[in-house]
């Protein structure tokens, strides 16, 4: 049977790990979303000079593993002398910052595609009505396209957030003590793999359920106009 004494005595390690996981997740999501909105507007543009470069960015970052992206930033950039001599080097040599940066870029690429998809699938009648009212392109985006597209992105975005939560587990590979890092620590200290990793799995499962219910609430608040009528 599972050794519960070890699990209970290592709970503080797991709770600290949860804080690291959540901090990584929230910072990465916030930064990613911040850049994803303008990029999605460019991506949805009919001008190829605007949409193609963004397409290339999302294509590359969605087509390669997050682990490679993390290694390129954390181990890879040190190859260049000019990076090591630059002012940003203290940040780039920190595992925390590199993990955050890699996760932010990765989630930015996925979120850009989600929002761009929602923008292009907007009902054309809404856009025509806005134009007929004499809205400028900026007003059209601010009042019509973005509020509606961001709401319709919620279901797909909740999937992305869950994927990102699971993605943060690879931060443990670059020595960060997130939930998975805590589990690896416990496993190497006591050699009790079942206790160590099942506890971590329970923590992730709990976080997943919390996030899913938060998104349910958000959909009730902002997507209720699209809910099936009963």
């Amino acid at each position: 049977m599972l050794n519960f004494d070890v699990i209970v005595s290592s709970l503080p390690l797991y709770f600290n790990g949860t804080l690291v996981t959540l901090k990584l997740l929230l910072v990465a999501l916030a930064v990613g979303l911040l850049f994803a909105i303008p990029l999605a507007v460019l991506r949805a543009s009919t001008n190829p000079w605007a949409s193609r470069p963004v397409w290339l960015f999302t294509y590359i970052f969605r087509g390669t593993p997050l682990l490679v992206q993390l290694f390129l930033i954390y181990y890879g950039l040190a190859q260049f002398v000019w990076v090591r001599e630059s002012v940003v080097w203290p940040m780039l040599s920190s595992a925390w910052f590199c993990a955050m940066l890699a996760f932010a870029i990765n989630t930015c690429a996925y979120t850009t595609e989600i929002i761009a998809g929602a923008i292009t699938s907007t009902n054309h009648g809404e856009v025509e009505a806005a134009r007929a009212m004499g809205m400028s392109p900026v007003t059209l985006y601010r009042r019509i396209l973005l509020p509606s597209a961001l709401r319709r992105s919620l279901p797909a975005y909740s999937n992305e957030v869950i994927m990102m939560l699971h993605g943060t587990s690879i931060a443990s590979i670059v020595t960060l003590l997130d939930i998975t890092g805590a589990a690896r620590e416990v496993n190497s200290r006591f050699y009790l793999p079942f206790e160590a990793f099942i506890t971590a799995a329970a923590f992730y499962l709990a976080l997943t359920f919390v996030l899913v219910s938060l998104f349910h609430l958000a959909e009730k608040r902002w997507l209720v106009h699209l809910a099936p009528r009963t």
């Binding site: 590359i60 593993p65 682990l67 490679v68 390129l72 587990s169 997943t208």
Partner: protein, 229 residues
């Protein structure tokens, strides 16, 4: 080119691809089984399959992989002497990686296949039963060929995520593409060059898969009317 490390990276790519393909085979089996269980009338089977998909999709791949790799090793170490094996048995990282990834993506494919099975009109299944086919025949001859078309878009997504997940097997010591890139990076002190090459190889794999699956989707949609908008 690449200071002679290219052949090693290509070998790693072959390992990556074989891990991906072998785990896909396991995942497809589990996915079909899971979807049939979820759609069955038995509450027990439904409950089992639902627990499987909920738990697996709520936990990161890496945690499950470490659990199966280290936990499996411990279980083998404790069981083997009881069963009369005297030598130490090491868990093969290839088998550990393939079973874990197959087990994880079986859960994702369960959902994909369940949706696809539900998209086949029920009249098709009923007609099969009316002809006196056994449930197995109805599935193999009627439902399966028609569900492929509905399953391909979701399947493509699952496969792309699966290929990218295989990068994690390097953590449990399999000499896949990531592992080879890491070795080359350590020897030459040029990590950026080699991880970038690995990234490019992953991009090639994902691009080719998308093109192939798009072709397959067209093939399975032959004779289906496209709605003109």
């Amino acid at each position: 080119m690449l200071q002679g490390f290219l052949p090693s990276l290509i070998e790693g790519a072959v390992t990556t691809l074989s891990v991906a393909v072998c785990s896909l085979l396991i995942a497809v089996m589990l996915g079909l089984l899971g979807a049939l269980m979820k759609l069955s009338r038995s509450r027990l089977l439904w409950g089992l399959a639902t627990t499987y998909t909920t738990v697996i999709r709520g936990v990161p791949d890496l945690v499950l992989m470490l659990l199966i790799f280290y936990g499996g090793q411990l279980a083998v170490n404790e069981l083997a002497p009881k069963l009369g094996f005297k030598d130490v048995i090491d868990i093969n990282p290839f088998i550990a990686g393939v079973t874990t990834i197959g087990f994880i993506f079986g859960a994702y494919l369960t959902e994909t296949f369940r949706g696809a099975m539900m998209a086949v009109p029920p009249g098709q299944r009923e007609a099969g039963i009316a002809y006196g086919m056994t449930p197995a025949q109805v599935f193999l001859r009627i439902v399966f060929p028609q569900m492929v078309r509905f399953a391909i878009p979701g399947f493509t997504n699952n496969w792309l995520v699966l290929v990218k997940s295989t990068a994690l097997v390097s953590v449990i010591g399999l000499s896949d593409m990531m592992n080879r890139a890491g070795l080359a990076a350590g020897t030459t002190r040029e990590p950026f060059t080699f991880y970038l090459t690995a990234a490019a190889l992953y991009l090639i794999i994902t691009t080719v898969s998308v093109l192939l699956l798009r072709f397959l989707e067209k093939r399975y949609s032959l004779g289906v009317k496209v709605i003109a908008l």
